[in-house]
Point group: C2
Chain length 328, copies 2
DNA sequence: ATACTGTATGCAAACGTTTGCATTAAAGCG
DNA sequence: CGCTTTAATGCAAACGTTTGCATACAGTAT
């Protein structure tokens, strides 16, 4: 049995109300310095810890925020978790993590215990479940390239990122540029694909060398090799993410193709991994720090004032040039 | 204002107790099929969601487990989070994540809201805070190579892993084997170091080529280059983890040294990243799946029965041979 | 002296569940 | 028909906080 506020009250000789005001901090200024001291000492002495469930019951909030991650595979995801957790912690929140890739409906169970939800790349899942969430009035902020824009959101402009990538490849002298895409992504709005289409068309080139595959490295490697055999060698590849770029590089290497001189490669996301390949890969870096910072900030404001108007931000990724596009 | 159990009770024409028994599932068998149906329908109709704080207050448990991660940098960490979250979810728990690398005392705030704690690689931090946790009787399971063995734990035998690595290097013909170690780790018990010492000594070799550095790739790369300049080229390097192995490989490559023929490399952990380097790296893979599965299992048992005797497991890592040790 | 300010505290009613015990009704049994 | 068992439900007291309102007391101005 844990120590309660009443026991402290008895021990000090004051009412539970007084103890609560001191220990919760919510009414500490009403209490005299003297009793405040005595209460703190007693609390320490008896090793008191507040019952957070009881507190939540009456205050109506929990101090917990849920983070919905589309996946948890790469260092990219780890970084998102780390950044969000850090910011939330700083604001006094604990972070509850749910991986929504398994798409189970049971995730619902825990919704009631959070003050708000941060979603990373959850468009597909969110579309299904957003209505009921909205009905319950749960603060929600959507983040990432596939942020749901019906809510507060921090979106990363990967359309713009893609244009950076393709233009960069064009400047490097590429003319037959392929787009290596995650097959699942074809059905949701695909900003990278749009960027590829537009910039290629604008340059008078055909945006039709599409390689669709699973998003693992192994599959990407295989897909690239197959594509080369069937449709011939491209002179540049723009990849849906860095994982797939690593796969592409790997596949080309198995074919004895030289990167960047035969084929230049650009990835997406900006994970550290690609910097340490023999040919470090050029990439489109997502501004994760700012995304997470803003996401937490938006959520916090929404929790404090539920009726403010929609908050949103559009962040621009940056081109990071490395060896994989620097041709002779 | 949310729907409560009382409103459902009124709506159906039964007592709150009955509604509770049906909806919580804890006394459903006592209630007639007919009323059960009516209660469920009303709950659905009114869009009822239980107030979890109230429930926790009376039941005394929350359905939340905390996961303490030493760090959240690499895909290795992402995988641990993913596996733990998945297993916990399957057992009906939500996962609260805390990154303890920042070492702030404020982490204490949230302890009261969890049914138990899973710690990954937390020896250093845990030693400081374990006593008070123990006093409060919070179920805790420690996992990883640096698991605290004073509690329930799932330890990964990296001493044994290191012996595998060093023996493998010896068999590959290496004689001057260096150990690249995370400088921070020198002060806690370091099983990898022990393995290096013992196997080297047993082979009549001097275990004294130690390169201590920061654990980032960049620092490792630099440290290796410096070490080579100062102490000459080793013919094998055993690395504290895969990140550092990547750095080491990178450093050697900058020096124009050939891997594996001039220097063979073995890493630790078994992350996917090292498989896609130009020279895929041999590594000591940690059995993360089993570690996480057992960790959750132990914790669950401890929560169910606090007084069972200490549970522990010692898991063996496996040698994964790749190109970085296959010499001509 | 009275009235009026604060300041410091206590009282007691919430918050929404769960659950031990009591109660009722129905059914089984001799 | 009375007596015992069993099944289905209700009553009311917890669980540990917070907080609006009331109170008590001091000090100060009238």
């Amino acid at each position: 049995m844990s120590i309660t506020i009443k026991q402290i009250a008895k021990h000090v000789g004051v009412s539970p109300a007084t103890v609560s005001r001191v220990l919760s901090g919510r009414g500490a200024h009403l209490i005299s310095e003297a009793t405040r001291q005595r209460v703190w000492r007693a609390a320490e002495e008896l090793d008191y810890h507040p019952n957070l469930a009881a507190r939540s019951l009456v205050t109506g909030h929990t101090g917990i925020v849920a983070l919905w991650m589309s996946e948890l595979f790469t260092s990219f995801h780890a970084r998102v978790v780390q950044l969000v957790e850090e910011h939330l912690h700083q604001q006094g929140y604990d972070t509850l993590i749910w991986c929504i890739s398994r798409l189970s409906g049971t995730a619902w169970h825990g919704v009631g215990r959070v003050d708000g939800i941060l979603v990373h790349e959850g468009a597909v899942y969110l579309q299904k479940v957003w209505k009921p969430l909205q009905r319950r009035g749960i603060p929600l902020v959507s983040m990432g390239a596939y942020a749901l824009t019906d809510t507060d959101h921090v979106r990363i402009d990967l359309y713009q990122g893609a244009t950076l990538a393709i233009r960069h490849l064009l400047e490097a002298g590429c003319r037959r540029i392929a787009y290596l895409v995650n097959a699942e992504s074809r059905y949701v709005g695909e900003p990278r694909r749009d960027g590829y289409d537009r910039v290629m068309s604008a340059a008078g080139l055909l945006p039709e060398y599409i390689i669709a595959t699973d998003q693992s490295r192994a599959e990407s490697s295989l897909a690239v090799r197959r594509a080369v055999q069937e449709h011939g060698l491209p002179d540049g590849i723009f990849c849906h993410n860095d994982e797939m770029a690593i796969g592409a590089y790997h596949g080309l290497r198995l074919l004895g193709v030289h990167v960047p001189d035969d084929v230049a490669i650009v990835g997406c996301d900006g994970i550290e991994d690609t910097e340490y390949l023999d040919v470090p890969l050029t990439t489109i870096r997502q501004p994760l720090e700012e995304m997470c910072r803003l996401g937490v900030e938006f959520l916090q404001k929404r929790i404090a004032e539920p009726h403010i108007e929609r908050q949103s931000a559009l962040l621009r990724p940056a081109l990071v040039v490395r060896a994989s596009t620097q041709r002779r």
